[in-house]
């Protein structure tokens, strides 16, 4: 291959990479700058209607229940101000648990229930051994944050 052709391909590759980056940025600005909506935002109708979006918050305590078919699971997402019920058919991630963070992607149905297509667990930035976590829980025992 002529050096000139090699150079052309290399420059095209560089431009492609740059173009890819720009496209990603533009795409992010368009729809994904808001990665998820909070239950309060969903309640105040800020979330898009009729198309898929993500809702994020905490899994409300004592809200997780499995349907009789064994596959469907229901729970509620809360940001302590508002709560949205969610229904999901599928496997839940390991870290999914009550009181912990969750991000679900799906649609808000007419009945006010969020039908999730994907449920992801969102964990916090704390890292400590189980003993430390237990001690922390005991220390906060009576106090509600």
């Amino acid at each position: 291959m002529k050096p000139r052709h090699k150079r052309f391909i290399a420059i095209a590759a560089a431009l492609l990479a740059l173009g890819g980056a720009v496209a990603l940025v533009l795409n992010a600005f368009q729809s994904n700058l808001v990665f998820f909506f909070t239950p309060s935002q969903v309640a105040s109708k800020e979330a898009p209607v009729g198309r898929s979006f993500r809702i994020g918050g905490l899994v409300q305590n004592d809200s997780v229940a499995r349907d009789k078919d064994g596959v469907t699971v229901r729970f509620a997402v809360t940001d302590t101000a508002h709560t949205i019920p969610v229904v999901y058919r599928g496997i839940l991630p390991d870290l999914f648990s009550e009181g912990k963070g969750v991000v679900a992607q799906g649609r808000l149905e007419a009945d006010g229930i969020f039908r999730a297509e994907q449920v992801l667990a969102k964990h916090d930035e704390n890292y400590m051994p189980p003993e430390a976590a237990e001690a922390l829980e005991k220390a906060h025992g009576g106090k509600k944050k």
Binding site: I11, A14, A17, A21, L24, L120, N126, Y127, E134
Partner: protein, 240 residues
């Protein structure tokens, strides 16, 4: 610090042997910190209450991510210096750093994906943190491709420098992404302003490996700049 000392090593000819002498020290120190860090990571740091043993990926993931951003800033710094001072060595240093920076960016993304699957439940999401780190990889690849494409070395350095400098804005975006936007990626466990949210032994392992990666990067950059000097200015590389 007289002006003479400062610029003494700014010529490829005088920097070449200095870089060569530094390599074994950087590599030796990297190995020391690396082995100690790995020992702490696997045999001292306990399991995590939340993520179990999967959290141990942090010992690679965070140091690699830190390096990916830090190397880019240093690379852009050298690139900028080359543009401003028209010094040959500056452009060479930027080109010497890029491949290692790209590698650590890839490793941050790779280990992140392997960590995300068992914890979040997905290999990838287009949230602000992950997307901006991917853009960083594209910037590195763009820099490497662009500089490789231009035959004249000095012109290639200058074109790459412009690209590198334009991309610098991405670094604070990566860092603050978890603060500015809702993201799946969690916030910072370690920051300059607040106490670490990590157990001490976990933090120690992470810091030891971060230092190891940094020393490794120095060794790689020194070796690569020597290689570049040999290519561009063979007479400067001739030992006496």
């Amino acid at each position: 610090m007289s002006a003479i000392n400062w610029f003494k090593y700014s010529s490829p000819h005088s920097f070449y042997p200095l870089a060569g002498r530094m390599v074994p020290w950087f590599l030796g120190a990297a190995a020391l910190f690396g082995i100690t860090g790995l020992y702490v990571a696997f045999f001292v740091a306990p399991t995590d209450f939340q993520q179990g043993e999967s959290y141990r990926i942090i010992f690679i993931h965070v140091p690699a991510a830190w390096m990916s951003m830090f190397i880019y800033l240093v690379m852009a710094g050298w690139a900028g210096a080359g543009l401003v001072f028209n010094t040959r060595l500056s452009g060479m240093m930027a080109r010497a750093l890029a491949p290692t920076g790209a590698m650590f960016t890839f490793l941050a993304l790779w280990t992140g994906a392997l960590w995300g699957k068992p914890t979040w439940g997905t290999w990838w999401v287009w949230d602000a943190r992950l997307t901006s780190e991917l853009i960083l990889l594209f910037l590195y690849i763009g820099f490497l491709s662009l500089t490789a494409a231009i035959e004249d070395d000095r012109r290639a350095d200058r074109a790459g420098a412009v690209l590198a400098l334009v991309g610098v804005v991405n670094i604070p975006i990566i860092y603050f992404s978890v603060v500015w936007w809702n993201t799946l990626h969690q916030g910072a466990s370690v920051s300059l302003k607040s106490a670490p949210k990590m157990a001490t032994t976990m933090l120690l392992g992470m810091l030891l490996l971060a230092v190891a990666f940094w020393l490794y990067s120095l060794a790689a950059a020194m070796l690569r700049v020597r290689s570049i000097i040999r290519e561009r200015e063979p007479r400067a590389a001739a030992e006496d």
